[in-house]
Each structure stands twice: as C-alpha cells, then as structure tokens.
Amino acid sequence: MSAPKQSIPDAEFYPHASAEAKKTVDAHQGDAPLKLYSGWFCPFVQRVWLVLEEKHIPYQYIEVNPYHKPDSLLRLNPRGLVPTLEHDNKPLYESTVVMEFLEDEYPDHKPNLRPDDPHERARLRIWTDYVTTRIIPSFHRFLQFQPSSDTKGLDEKRQEFLGHLREWTAEMDEEGPYFSGKEPRLVDFQMGPWAVRLWVFDLMKGGLGIPAEGQGGEHEKVWNRYRKWVKAIEGRDSVKATTSEREHFLPLYQRYADNTAQSELAKATRSGRGVP
C-alpha cells in the first residue's frame, strides 16, 4: 500500500541524483552513525553535503521524496525538511547550524573550514548571514518574478540580485581565490550551491546579467573577483561530486520561474518573507 500523497507534487521530478552526484550517493549507502536526509536537487542540502565531502566524514545518504516523506525523517524532524542530519539517532537541522556542528564534531577531519582568528571567524559569519538574508531571497524574487512580459519589473529584480552579489563579493579577500583567502571556509560553501545554479537565469529569465569580462565598467573589478571565486568553487572536487545532471533540474526550476512552485521557500518568497 503506498503512502497517501502529502501535497501536490511540484513537478514530475527526477527522483534521484544523477551524473557525478549519483556516484557519490551510491558510495554512501552503507549504514553509518551519521545519516544525511537529502534532496539531490536542494541547495540547502548541498551546503551540508559539501562539508561532508570536503572533510571526508563518513555518512549514509538517504534520498527523501518531498511528497512521500519517510516516517524515519518525520520522527526526527516533524516538518520533514531537508537537510536533516541524524547523529547517534538525534536530529540536527538548519543548514548553517549543521555546518558549524560538523566543524565542532570533526576537528581532526581536514580541512578546517573556520579560520583560527576569532575576528575573521566573526566576519565570515556576518557574510554568511548576508547570503541567507539578502542573496537567497533576492535570487528567488528574481526567479519567481511574474509576469515575464514585465521586462522592466524583471530587470529591477535582476539588478537587486546582482547588487547583493557585488556587495558580498566586495568583502572578499583581494587575492582569494576563496572568500577569506587561499583556503576555503564555510562561507564559500554557504554560497556555492546558489552560485552553481545561476545558469537558470540565462535559460529562463532572459539572462543573468553579469557583464562579460572587459564590459563591467565601474563594476569591472568586483565582477572579475566574482569570476575568480566561482572558478575556484566549481573546481572543488566536493562541488563536482554533489552536482547532478542539469536537465533534471529543469522541471523543478521551471516551476519556480512560473511561480507555481509549492516549496516552503517558494511560498515564503511570494508572501514577502525570507528563508523559512
């Protein structure tokens, strides 16, 4: 007997990871004390997944169908949201909290993703908050903007989003390539999942709008720095290992672009609120 559908499905979405991510999933099916309840497509999950991969922490990967949430997840987290981490049968959620937990719990698993200097640690937490409270909501306002015929309104959302990207990038260490310098930190993996999804705007929203190299005008320096950062992120093994086939993302993102998506984040964006 199949479980009743818990909500209207967002799309005929592809049920599991693909491409490189599938290899990673397959390699993490064995029982482990740490279990990651995941949606292969979810950028919040990817934040946590990146840290697990970076630090080579053993974990069991459990795919969660958002329309058929397993009881095992609901017992841990009544809202059934991903990512949920199960550690010794106890639940952990909220991606930023989980990422700090992994640093606290596995200090011997390198790399350490928090700088030693307390002030730099604090500074990176501020710019992590910025990702969650400014960049992600504006990403979604841009993505979900309707009607698409209102090109002026769409461009306002585009410029708002690009402005936040620039403001964040301006705080990066000058050399980099990562936010804080030569070494990646949590903040890079807080933002990374959205940076690797920006192709959506070129496909579905009339263009992302980041000027080509040499065309940035007054913003040339900051866009160059951004490009340098993105190149470094995309080159990380952890990012490659947690990325699925682009075509399988399309039906999901089409729903966001049409503003018919029913995820908590989609609804929050429509009602003018931030990340739930």
Partner: protein
C-alpha cells in the same frame, strides 16, 4: 542638531549606571552601546558574564554620527571594536566572537558539539520567531484588536516552543549560557507588553520561572536600567511610529536583518 528618532533619556539609569561608570577606561575591547537596546544588552551581558574588560561608549544610533557609521556601516548598536579598530557587528555574532576569543572565561556554549548545535538552533528560533513577534505585538495599536490578538498568539507560541526545552533554572539547567543571553533582554522588557498589550507570563508554561531566573542573574540585573525609562523609550513603538530598523522589519514581516 536635529534629531530624528524617539526622544529618550540619554544615558543608562538604575543598576546599569554603576556598570557604565566602571567601564570608562580604555581597554582592548570597546562596546558601542545603546543602553535601551535589547540587542546591545545581549553583548553587554556576555561581556559581564565572562568578566572581559571593555570600555562602554553610549551611542545614539538615531543621530547617524559619521564617526560611528565608519565602524558600523548600518549605524546599528551594538558594535564591538578591537584594539586595531576592526569592528564586530550583530549581537549574536559578537557573543560567538567573545566565546571564540575567550574560551576559558566562563564558557557560554556547551562543550559537546551536539549540545552546541542545540544551543545555536534555539538561539536562531529566539531571533527569528520570538523577537520579531515581540516587536509586532509592541507595535500593534489598541485600535487594531485583530492585529494585537494575532501578534499575542504568535509571541505566546514562539515562547512556548522554546520554554518547553528549558531544563531550569536556565536553558541547559544550572549553567547560564548563550541561549539565556539571547532571550534575557526580552525577559527584562516583557513588563511593557504585560502592561500595554495583554501579555501574561502565566499564559506560557515555563516562561515565568525562566524569565525570573534571567532577570535576577547578576549580569542581567546590572545591565538593566529603570523600568520607566524603557517605557519612555518605547513610546514610539507604543504609538506605532517605529523609527528603527527593527520596527520597520517587524512591520513588513521580515526577520530582523
């Protein structure tokens, strides 16, 4: 000089007076503070708990003094500055900074990583659910009965969830910590919504005993000013004029940024 923003008593009063006076000498750390500000009080409590030397400087954030804006671009209190002038902003990030920089002075986070994660989860809940609900209630006018009732229900619910987890007398039991720090300034201020907005401590199981323990904690008591001065400051909210970013954020339904 023209002042925008509420008229309020310019300095700390009551028990906080002496604490301010005891922190007028230059030290490694400087706390740029608004005596009235609950977010300032979080950072102030943490400094006091950990007995970290600091200089206290009173700031009227509504004046937008350029010197202050240079170290705190949004012009928000609290700001902590280091000897080289580097700032730390955001009350909770300041608290985590003090933990990182002074780990052995009266630690305010549990040693166990899972418990630390629990602390951070509940601090997030306090910041994202309890505090905005408090401000929405404060701003709902007597003429807006529906708004008040909704805001009161939201505050009660947000408080109820976290109070369920309190071991007593403090969040983790005997040890006072950052979860307590995160909410204590609102235990100090809930008398305002009791008097003006129909809030009752008894309506939330566990809040009365936790709030009393918080109010009587030394670090909280000595960073608290006279009650009447808080009412005077909050006259702006009580009239829903909200000059502050907190007020604007609460009115538009967003988390405080």
């Amino acid at each position: 000089m023209a002042t925008t923003g509420p008229k309020y008593h310019p300095v700390a009063t009551g028990a906080a007076t002496e604490t301010v006076q005891q922190h007028q000498e230059p030290e490694d750390l400087t706390l740029w503070a608004g005596w009235f500000c609950p977010f300032t009080q979080r950072a102030w409590i943490a400094l006091e708990e950990k007995s970290i030397p600091y200089k206290y400087i009173e700031v009227n954030p509504y004046l937008k003094d350029p010197g202050f804006l240079a170290i705190s671009p949004k012009g928000l209190v609290p700001t902590l500055t280091l000897p080289d002038g580097r700032p730390v902003n955001d009350s909770l990030i300041i608290c985590e900074y003090l933990e990182d920089a002074h780990p052995s002075s009266s630690p305010l986070l549990p040693k166990d990583p899972y418990e630390r994660a629990q602390a951070r989860t509940w601090i997030k809940h306090i910041n994202e659910a309890v505090v905005p609900a408090f401000f929405r209630l404060l701003q709902a006018q007597p003429s807006e009965q529906d708004k008040q009732a909704k805001a009161l229900a939201e505050l009660n619910e947000a408080l109820r969830t976290v109070c369920q987890k309190v071991k007593g007398p403090y969040f983790f039991g005997e040890e006072f910590g950052l979860v307590d720090v995160a909410i204590a300034p609102w235990a100090v201020r809930d008398f305002i919504v009791q008097e003006y907005r129909g809030f009752r401590r008894d309506d939330v199981p566990g809040w009365g005993s936790w709030a009393e323990a918080l109010e009587s904690r030394g670090s909280v008591a000595r960073t608290t000013s006279e009650k009447e001065r808080y009412v005077e400051f909050n006259q702006t909210f009580l009239k829903n004029e909200g000059h502050s970013m907190v007020g604007k954020a609460a009115r538009s339904g967003r988390a405080i940024e």
